[in-house]
């Protein structure tokens, strides 16, 4: 029986017990994913996994869990999950916050289309379909979507959303449900998103304001089949998501992936920190990726690299990593260094690592989960990649906020931890870990539902008309939380601030 005939037979089956359908589906995908075993892109990551492991991933996903898959391709898992949903006569939307490599995504979808009777929809810029929405996808069987666009539809047009969407697969599900759990809207358009560092369960009254949406809570109340994947999930984040999203008896609890065990170094000043990053990058074997989030730190890093004589390029586009390390043999014959602004994407890699190298974290990201994702990118890009090293400075913008707003100094004396480390490297590490742990604890105490922390700003030049009038009072009230940039100011007074009203000339 040919592959397509096999698929048609599966689709034509009268309702059978799920276990039987699953067994036949698993048998079929062994042929489907091996149709062109030499293809370096399509299902290559899936084929590279141990058969028992990959079967376990798929079974877990189908049972409604968010599966930790480390470096494996989450999009491939999502597509297979989507095919199973189609067999169960449900439409499936695969949604992501991180960028794909679009050519690879299209190749994967072409393979699915080759089955003949599957209608595929794409929406949002992440999927190469800017301006397309759920309503434009018609009667799709499988759709790929930008998370913000997708959840924007849930906010704007709930009837359409729950009519069209019968199952959801969240790629890097923890980033969706935790790091971007709260979406703030203006005129029906997502403007910013944020996280609640540690939920207490006491939801403030203002959350009932129409301009906010708590995605995790809203999805947990729905009857849509929801599953997902993540490269790595920390224990803390898994617990937080379970608190809000996993209703006992309705959704399976998330499991944390093993700790990545990265090394942390704490420095008193940002200058000390950055010169240590540059020194260590120069010492490391092979190429290097340095990840940082603030423009200020990136500018200082560039300057440090320039002084050291090592060229370093900066990008904020996830897919640039692959191109960067594939080139440069003539222009930069030695070490190549790429500084990445913000979170790199774990969804762009499909093949083997291409060179030796290491990944460095020049700043502490908001959620510990993000460090796990960055580690995953290092493992995908580099052969024999070591866990990343975190370089943390007490001048960190967020740290200042804790110092000012949360009385950080009262909890322990910062300077004690930074004076001795020159000769006591081991102690320095212990202290550094202690600092990071303390930081984590302070965040847990202060960043509750009362103070969500913005992680992403989604400003668009043209607001979409919804016909609903929003008062000025409401529009400004929603941006009270701290800005994502770590400046310590409310979002509305920092990156959310409008330009001055001064006329030109």
């Amino acid at each position: 029986m040919s592959l397509i005939e096999g698929w048609k037979t599966l689709r034509g089956l009268t309702p059978v017990p799920r276990a039987e359908l699953m067994a036949r589906f698993l048998q079929w995908i062994e042929e489907f994913t091996y149709e062109d075993a030499s293809d370096p892109v399509v299902f290559s990551s899936w084929r590279g996994l141990n058969p028992k492991v990959r079967e376990g991933y798929l079974r877990e996903a189908i049972s409604g869990s968010i599966v930790g898959v480390c470096e494996a391709s989450q999009l491939e898992l999502g597509i297979l999950y989507g095919l199973f949903q189609i067999l169960e006569r449900r439409r499936c939307v695969i949604t992501s916050i991180l960028m794909y490599d679009l050519p690879n995504m299209r190749k994967l979808l072409d393979r699915v289309r080759s089955l003949g009777d599957i209608k595929i929809g794409l929406m949002g810029a992440i999927c190469g379909a800017p301006g397309k929405r759920l309503a434009d996808c018609g009667d799709f069987d499988l759709a790929l979507s930008d998370y913000f666009e997708f959840m924007g539809t849930m906010r704007r047009n709930e009837d359409l959303f729950f009519e069209k969407v019968q199952s959801i697969f969240l790629l890097e599900g923890d980033l969706c449900l935790y790091s971007n759990r709260i979406l703030a809207f203006e005129h029906g358009v997502p403007r910013a998103s944020g996280l609640v560092y540690k939920s207490t369960g006491k939801v403030p009254e203002e959350w009932s304001n129409q301009d906010f949406i708590d995605v995790a809570s809203r999805l947990s109340q729905s009857k849509i089949a929801i599953a997902g994947s993540a490269s790595r999930i920390s224990k803390f984040t898994a617990e937080e998501i379970n608190k809000v999203f996993c209703v006992p008896g309705h959704r399976r609890k998330l499991k944390a992936t093993p700790d990545i065990g990265y090394t942390a170094f704490t420095f008193r000043t940002s200058d000390e920190r950055l010169s240590a990053v540059v020194t260590d990058v120069l010492k490391c074997e092979g190429n290097a990726i340095v990840v940082a989030c603030s423009d200020q730190v990136i500018g200082m890093l560039q300057e440090e690299f320039r002084k050291s004589g090592q060229p370093a390029s900066v990008t904020s586009r996830a897919a640039d990593i692959l191109t960067f390390f594939q080139m440069g043999a003539n222009a930069e014959p030695g070490k190549r260094v790429l500084i990445i602004r913000g979170m790199p994407s774990t969804l762009i890699w499909s093949g083997d690592p291409i060179c030796k190298g290491a990944i460095f974290l020049a700043e502490h990201f908001i959620s510990p989960d993000m460090h796990g994702k960055i580690f995953t990118v290092g493992k995908q890009a580099f052969e024999e990649s070591q866990p990343p090293r975190l370089y943390f400075a007490l001048e960190d913008g967020l740290f200042e906020i804790y110092s000012e707003d949360a009385g950080f100094e009262r909890l322990f004396k910062v300077i004690d931890f930074t004076e001795k480390y020159d000769h006591w490297k081991q102690i320095r590490r212990v202290f550094a870990k202690s600092m990071v742990t303390r930081l984590h604890r302070i965040r847990s105490e202060s960043l509750t539902e009362e103070l969500p922390l913005f992680t992403t700003s989604l400003t668009r030049s043209v607001p979409l008309a919804t016909g609903k009038s929003v008062s000025k009072k409401k529009a400004s009230a929603k941006m009270e939380a701290m800005c994502f940039c770590g400046s310590g100011k409310p979002f509305k007074e920092c990156h959310g601030k409008r330009k001055s009203g001064m006329p030109k000339g």
Partner: protein, 365 residues
């Protein structure tokens, strides 16, 4: 006669198949990794278009996908590295780019800088070269010069030559085994491309274009906070139509800071006949449809439809060029019907080439 068509990172394999249906036998594209930005800045582009996905391919995987799609569709792909000149510090990076592009078997390179032609030779690249319009092959002698030195497959004829001058070059190059290509629509240089070295990769548009069109920007008259005013208007509704509101201040600013309107010098009003000229002007900028018949008769091989970076305009533009190219007699009347804007066609400023018979009727009338 066939069409060569500009691709950018917004083009997908599906679109490439559509373009081929409209008579495109050959594509050209640029590849500039974003790493280039970090090294040399956005001001300098190796192919005279703004950097970024809207105009150039930026990823190796995109280049691979496009190359595969073009070849699968039975067309050819040429890669553009046609900056007028390239500083010596950029040459190693250009070599990296060429070596990367070589993995995908391009059918040729479009070049303008003679130094790069020598570099390609030195790097062992034997693929045919297309001499870009930027080189300035105004005469038979220059074509002969390049053909003697390099493996030249095609020459793109400078846009400022008249139809009779082009006919002379065609006549003189017969038997030389060199194809000739002419630009036919959009992107006509305001000055003289070959002798102008102004930066061609501005963030918004080319420096020369910005200079000429700056007066036309309506936003020049707006205060900086006009978006806020618009948002307030949207949010608050009727109550902003009062004294003391920002909308009122905005209106006062406009009335007290009046600027002289831009002088178009030509009548762009349709007067109820066809579409308003501003629309085809926006869509096509400049048009040479009426000259296609002349080019076909004299034996021009290829029509160039550039449009890298104009995603939405690509298909309608390609469709009219294809219609004129395949028509048995694409005379001015036929071409004017395709454009459907007499006001646009009557203003000679929009014409790519001077085709006297296209204007006879109006002038006589």
């Amino acid at each position: 006669m066939f069409i060569t068509f500009g691709l950018d990172a917004n083009d997908t394999p599906d679109r490439i198949r559509e373009y081929v249906k409209y008579g495109v036998e050959e594509f050209f594209a640029g590849f500039v990794p974003r790493d280039w930005l970090s090294k040399y800045g956005w001001e300098v582009c190796p192919n005279r278009r703004p950097l970024g996905g809207g105009y150039n391919f930026t990823q190796v995987s995109e280049l691979a996908e496009m190359s595969e799609a073009v070849h699968k569709a039975g067309a050819r792909l040429n890669l553009a590295i046609n900056a007028h000149d390239n500083g010596s510090e950029r040459v190693p990076y250009l070599r990296d780019m060429v070596e990367t592009m070589e993995q995908f078997n391009p059918d040729g390179y479009v070049v303008a800088d003679p130094a790069i032609m020598f570099c390609l030779k030195e790097w062992g690249i034997r693929r045919p070269l297309h001499i870009s319009t930027g080189t300035g092959c105004f005469s038979m002698e220059s074509i002969k010069f390049f053909s003697d030195k390099f493996n030249i497959r095609r020459v793109v004829i400078p846009r400022k030559l008249s139809i009779s001058e082009i006919a002379r070059i065609v006549e003189q190059t017969r038997g030389m085994n060199v194809e000739l290509e002419v630009m036919i629509i959009g992107y006509r240089c305001y000055f003289n491309d070959e002798n102008c070295h102004s930066i061609h990769s501005g963030a918004r548009r080319n420096l020369c274009g910005d200079m000429l069109l700056a007066k036309m920007h309506a936003s020049n008259r707006f205060p900086d906070d006009w978006k806020d005013v618009a948002t307030d208007l949207h949010a608050s509704g009727i109550e902003v139509f009062k004294e003391g509101t920002r909308l009122n201040e905005f209106a006062r600013h406009l009335t007290t800071n009046q600027m002289t309107p831009y002088d178009y010098s030509v009548d762009l009003c349709a007067n109820g006949c066809g579409v308003e000229a501003v629309l085809p002007k926006t869509l096509y900028q400049n048009c040479g449809l009426c000259s296609i018949k002349h080019f076909r008769d004299m034996g021009i091989d290829c029509l160039k439809v550039p449009l890298r970076g104009a995603t939405d305009f690509k298909m309608p533009t390609l469709a009219i060029v294809h219609a004129a190219m395949t028509a048995p007699d694409p005379n001015p009347d036929f071409c004017r019907k395709l454009i459907n804007s007499p006001a646009f066609c009557d203003a000679r400023i929009h014409c790519y080439y001077d085709v006297p018979e296209a204007h006879v009727k109006r002038e006589n009338g």
